[in-house]
Symmetry: C2
Subunit: 377 residues, 2 copies
């Protein structure tokens, strides 16, 4: 059975408070939200080397530095670092925690400006476009007018596309990896299972749980369900198959007999140590609401009309969360909009998570694309 | 949020108690278990017209008659009835609730013979082969020595294959629909999410909940997660897409905005009215333990060596729970074992659930196969 652990110990994050209130798609306003971020490298004299990295659902700003809660290395050190495609010696790299998140940016666990108690469900429901609006506010404060590139995998890719639609003249290139321009019914269904698992946990208390007292079991179940969608069936079979924990002995009970069970339980339990349950509700909602074409009468190409950025779209053949067909749809719209768009489908057994892992060809493609953009006038 | 409802009101089921204790794969013994069943049609004079239908994970014996809890028609009236492929005017049709179930056969909600209280987790963990052993005991009591056919979809198909291995001389034909000869890592993973959702619900009480007081919310979440696997992505998109409940108005809250959310919640909530949470644990465990080749040194073909039954294996192209590749593996083993095996992959947008729905070709294939078997000497 899943154990209950602490939900989110307090740590200090590097953050700025936006100078103005943030208007939201819902019609509400977020009063001067905090935006937590990390930067690596330095902005050059003509301010032409800034790259914004957008993180995925459960990611955060610690893209290239040790995570303060888990102690693990940055989540994209394969891609970001000296000699890597996104290189602090060449680039000014910015990664910010999305609003609605729980790593320092304004979110449901942040203190409400009026009473200092957590926002909890008083926090307004936000969208991918709201996240991007907050990032644009951060860039203003950092003195970055135009990005060399906006780069993201999964939900990060959605933000990258939203950037092209919301701020078409503030970017020279867009890199979209393992993503989709809308959430499908199946995507929404999996998220709804996770939300219901959280909300079914009596410790959720309609969102008003105390720090460290949240719905750990519900959140762990939500993570387990989601985690299955990040891996491919073939990858699971290769890694775990039907291997038992104890040689070839079945317990004939409900302990974790199979290695895959033990692995999933571990994924669920370790997640609750670093993530806030309400933040999970808000961010999954933002993802489910995402349909970039919606604001353009259902014409996805129209979302890409105003920008002149170059695009690179990358998918993985074993990704069934945001399958290649979704990337193809994006590329079709891009080309129809007159954009330069490169499309690469990479071979990987690792499913959706391939964008975070060692995937042959991935760093080369990102490297080649960014260097080509840099060499353009 | 999911509401709590009654878990399993008491109803009377037609059942027999086996004349002897039932030995189990675990090494334990089930003292004279009750087996609930329904029969339709009559056994003919030479006892050659009996067909056993095996039900799926959440199915039951009400294959052709109104369900006593839901009031819905029998779950396979498309296939079973006058003029249908399995026809009470020609066949003696038997369908029994699996042991471990909750519709009258001995299961965790049944009274323990010693103290009359529910078995709960004292119930031994059972396997697919144990279910089949109980069915064989029932057939003995009904005077059926040899089956014209054993037929099943999903977990029912696993029982059908197990029949061929356990009682090779008691059947003339085997019909396996939308099934697999083993549970994959991904299959186990989804079940483990469901089990953890149930066990995370404080009302589960380590299985010792009272009648009508079970972990309804946890069970509903388990059902929601499982239900996604029964449908195809394309089917979900066609049926629900991103359609909202209220025209084009988003609530910017956590109510069921999308039709798919509302549908899933309904699936979860209506399930807890007819199913016992502990039974769900036991039956998913039996499925996860299933690997027919395991008892034959990993050689699936050897499981089919002893029988001379004819086989028909049917898969659906959009089924990702037990995909066509698993059926292909079964057929390969059957032919390698020297069996006559027909293999049909049907086109359907409905995913795994296609075996329960109106699927072009399905009744014709079942009808043709059974009639051919009947006409053989």
């Amino acid at each position: 059975m899943l154990g209950a652990r602490l939900v989110s110990p307090k740590v200090a994050h590097h953050s700025l408070r936006l100078p103005a209130d943030l208007p939201l798609d819902s019609g509400q306003t977020l009063p001067r939200p905090a935006v937590a971020f990390e930067t690596v490298g330095e902005l050059n004299a003509d301010k032409s080397n800034a790259i914004l990295i957008c993180h995925a659902l459960t990611g955060d700003q610690y893209v290239a530095s040790q995570h303060p809660l888990t102690g693990k290395p940055g989540w994209w050190q394969r891609m970001v670092g000296p000699g890597k495609p996104i290189d602090p010696e060449r680039h000014f790299i910015i990664c910010s925690n999305v609003i609605g998140g729980c790593m320092g940016s304004e979110g449901p666990a942040s203190p409400h400006p009026e009473d200092g108690k957590p926002w909890a469900l008083r926090f307004p429901v936000i969208t991918i476009a709201d996240m991007v609006r907050a990032q644009a506010g951060l860039l203003d404060m950092l003195g970055v007018e135009k990005l060399l590139a906006v780069v993201g995998g999964s939900m990060g890719g959605m933000q990258a596309m939203q950037w092209a639609a919301s701020y078409p003249h503030r970017l020279r290139s867009v890199l979209v990896i393992a993503s989709a321009a809308r959430h499908s019914a199946q995507n929404i269904a999996f998220h709804e299972v996770g939300r219901q698992a959280i909300m079914a946990d009596p410790k959720w208390k309609n969102g008003a749980y105390g720090a460290g007292e949240g719905p750990a079991k519900g959140l762990a179940v939500a993570r387990m369900a989601a985690h299955i969608t990040y891996l491919s069936e073939a990858g699971l079979t290769a890694k775990f198959g039907r291997h038992l924990q104890q040689g070839d002995v079945k317990s004939f009970g409900f302990d974790a007999d199979f290695q895959i069970e033990s692995y999933l339980r571990h994924q669920g339990m370790s997640f609750v140590d670093r993530f806030d349950a309400n933040a999970y509700l808000y961010i999954t909602r933002a993802l489910d609401y995402f349909d970039l074409a919606e604001g353009y009468s259902g014409q996805l190409a129209h979302a890409f009309k105003a920008t002149s950025a170059r695009f690179c779209v990358i998918s993985f053949d074993s990704d069934w969360l945001y399958p290649t067909a979704e990337s193809r749809r994006i590329v079709q719209a891009l080309v129809a909009a007159g954009r330069h768009a490169s499309f690469v489908e990479l071979n990987s057994p690792f499913g959706h998570d391939a964008f975070l892992l060692e995937t042959p060809g991935l760093t080369e493609v990102v490297d080649g694309f960014l260097k080509a953009v840099e060499q353009e006038p």
